[in-house]
Amino acid sequence: MLRTWRQRITATDIVVWVIGLAIAVMVVYGSAKTLALGKYDAATWLDLTITGLALGGVYALIALGYTLVYGILRMINFAHSEVFMSGPYTATFMAYALISLGWWNKYPVLSLLIVMLVAAVVSSSIAVLLERIAYRPLRTAPRLVPLITAIGASFFLQYTFRGLYGSGLKGYPEMDIFKGFLMIAGIRVFKTQATAIIGAIVLMLILYAIVQKTKIGKAMRSVSEDKEVAALMGIDVDKTIATTFALGGAAAGLAGILYLLLFPVAHFYMGFFPGLKAFTAAVLGGIGNVPGAFLGAMLLGLLESVGPSLFLDGLGIPAAYQLKDAIAFTILVFILIFRPSGILGERLTQAKA
């Protein structure tokens, strides 16, 4: 027993475990020292947590697009970050049109619905077009080929929008109903953050219900299991894939509106970093898995927001927030060492292997 166990361990395993252990020790030691220092009070930690959750909600909705497409095509849609940028950027101009009409603060709910509709429709159509033009002709090509077209499409979209709207910054107008904060059980939460968290959860549940409960969701799941058999069963594979892109695109567009509520500046490059983070979140949660994307995104948001203060302040590292991405990705490495298929990825990967 012991011998077989010893034979199975390779040098790589040991190195990986040492790295994992080092990360764990650093995290625990740093956190303990920070808490002992007492530089931040409970309210500060709560503020950081809420900021992290709001950010995580946005990541979650973008991550959905990656996960849905991966689930069905086994392909990373790297142009998804531009799908995320296109809708909200266009919606910003709609918002200014609504302001000049005088509707923005007079009919805030209606205006918000219009802006959300514009964002969802634009993002969704771009996602569908992307699939039709850049991915469908290459569906039978080797796996790396659509990956390259995805990157090409990403640049194409970025610079198209730069050409359309210019390379400057466009401020997203604030709405009076989102100004100020709420007190929830004695905790101060900004209305924008509350909206982002609740909005992300609601949209997530709707999407999950679509995938699990509806007919089209059933079709999506069966295409993801086996395209050929699904086609034999009378499922229109092309249509199902297009629907998947449309759904992921709409989620990204709506995520963009939540993003603009939190960080109200639109520009042509705004998709890149959130897209990268959302992709990370999807991998962290187990790519191809919808609840996993949500969990991974929330975790990543929290790590980015709380991590630098918690882990590094106690170690006496100056300017900790400079390292927030390093921390988030270190923890990602840590989790992937022990769970290579992501937090919720295992069951699914085995089923599809």
Binding site: K39, T44, L48, P264, V265, E304, S309, D313, A319, D325
Partner: protein
């Protein structure tokens, strides 16, 4: 023997005196780092390396407009047109590397205007210095670029922008003396410019008797600054100084108002945030934001009467950033130096010795520019620095000058 030699010498002397009369002697370049030859009818090739795309583009485009104005007002130089080409420095080390490599490969270039950003300068300047160019920046402000003995100081590099030793100290004085604050925090974005500037600010502020609560750093491409601001709020500063660039600067301005504990702190940026894009990006939150910047009120009268109308005619807008006048002065300094050192053949061919041109640039003394009387130090600081503080008001550009 001696007699014969004497005869030979005198004959040689006579011949050599006659030679120029018979025909033009070919110009021989004796300059240690080479000469640029401009054939008759050909333009003098000058180049720029400035940030002309992306979120920080207003900084570079504005300076380039300043160069265009100078060229348009000057017309021909020694009978030659001026040709201005350029590369994008991207306001980053990577962009500087690309721009510097490309420009350094072109031996027809006499001088380069740039870079826009100090981070780009750090990698682009050594490349272009090797190529023998005169490099003159209108907006690099990081102190080490002109510090004697510093590895980032290279031969041939000069600037018409102020040194941040001046700007950072002015900002600290403004905070401590004018606003009466005792506790300040700083944020930089890891760029050479911002890091040095906040360091000078912090040092001066401490010398004046204030306390620095936190010195944080952020990623210039990030969008979420709420966490870092929340952690800064724990130190309860009364003043936050973040001398960074447009994109991150406007986001921080906006998010600071939403962080508990920071609702009433004073916010201040530097000249990199003197741009209409900041007013646009920060929205209503821009109200009350301070920026330090070259004092346009101290510019000469020509700025209003000659420069601005021409700028508007060529660019179609009012200035979109703050270093256009510095670029204009840089162009005129280079033209003056070329006129001083260039050797012109009868047929109009122009020879510009590179080292002599550099020496002429460093020797600039009391040059009447728009930004003041410019005298260059041996390491290339040519500015006549006058810094003022401006305050933004929502829906209004340019910001209002409030100090000194």
């Amino acid at each position: 023997m001696t007699k014969r030699l004497l005869v030979l010498l005198s004959v040689l002397l006579a011949v050599s005196m006659l030679l120029p009369a018979c025909g033009p002697a070919p110009y021989e370049c004796t300059d240690p780092i080479g000469c640029v030859t401009v054939a008759p009818g050909e333009p003098i090739h000058l180049a720029y390396a400035m940030v002309i795309s992306g979120p920080d583009e207003t900084l570079g485009i504005d300076s380039r407009n300043g160069l265009d104005v100078a060229v348009a007002l000057k017309g021909k130089v020694l009978g030659h047109d001026i040709q201005l080409t350029g590369e994008d420095d991207g306001c980053s080390a990577e962009g500087g590397q690309a721009a510097g490599t490309k420009l350094a490969a072109d031996p027809t270039i006499v001088a380069v205007f740039g870079t826009s950003c100090s981070s780009a300068a750090r990698v682009a300047v050594p490349l272009m210095s090797q190529a023998g160019f005169v490099i003159i920046s209108s907006s690099n402000t990081a102190p080490d670029l002109t510090e004697a003995g510093n590895p980032n100081n290279h031969p041939g590099y000069l600037r018409t922008a102020h040194n941040d030793k001046v700007q950072g100290a002015a900002a600290a004085k403004f905070a401590f003396e004018k606003m009466g604050v005792k506790k300040a925090a700083t944020i930089h974005d890891g760029s050479l410019y911002a890091e040095k500037l906040q360091a000078v600010f912090a040092d001066t502020f401490k010398q004046l008797g204030g306390t620095i609560t936190t010195q944080e750093a952020v990623d210039p491409n990030a969008t979420d600054f709420k966490s870092v601001l929340t952690s800064i709020a724990a130190g309860a500063p009364e003043f936050i100084y973040y001398p960074i660039f447009v994109k991150a600067g406007s986001l921080i301005t906006r998010q600071a108002k939403e962080v508990p504990g920071l609702e009433n702190v004073y916010l201040m940026g530097a000249d990199g945030m003197f741009s209409p894009d900041v007013a646009e990006g920060a929205g209503e939150a821009v109200e009350g934001l301070f920026v330090s910047s070259p004092d346009t009120a101290a510019f000469t009268a020509d700025y209003q009467s000659v420069f601005l109308p021409k700028y508007k005619e060529l660019a179609g807008t009012d200035p979109i950033s703050i270093f256009h006048a510095h670029a204009y002065d840089a162009m005129n300094m280079v033209i003056a130096a070329i006129e001083k050192v260039a050797v012109q053949d009868k047929d109009g061919t122009l020879h510009i010795p590179r080292q002599a041109l550099r020496d002429a640039m460093y020797g600039t003394k009391d040059f009447p520019g728009l930004t003041g009387n410019l005298t260059c130090t041996p390491t290339g600081d040519c500015a006549d620095p006058k810094i003022a503080v401006y305050e933004y008001h929502a829906g209004q550009y340019p910001p209002e000058r409030i100090w000194p």
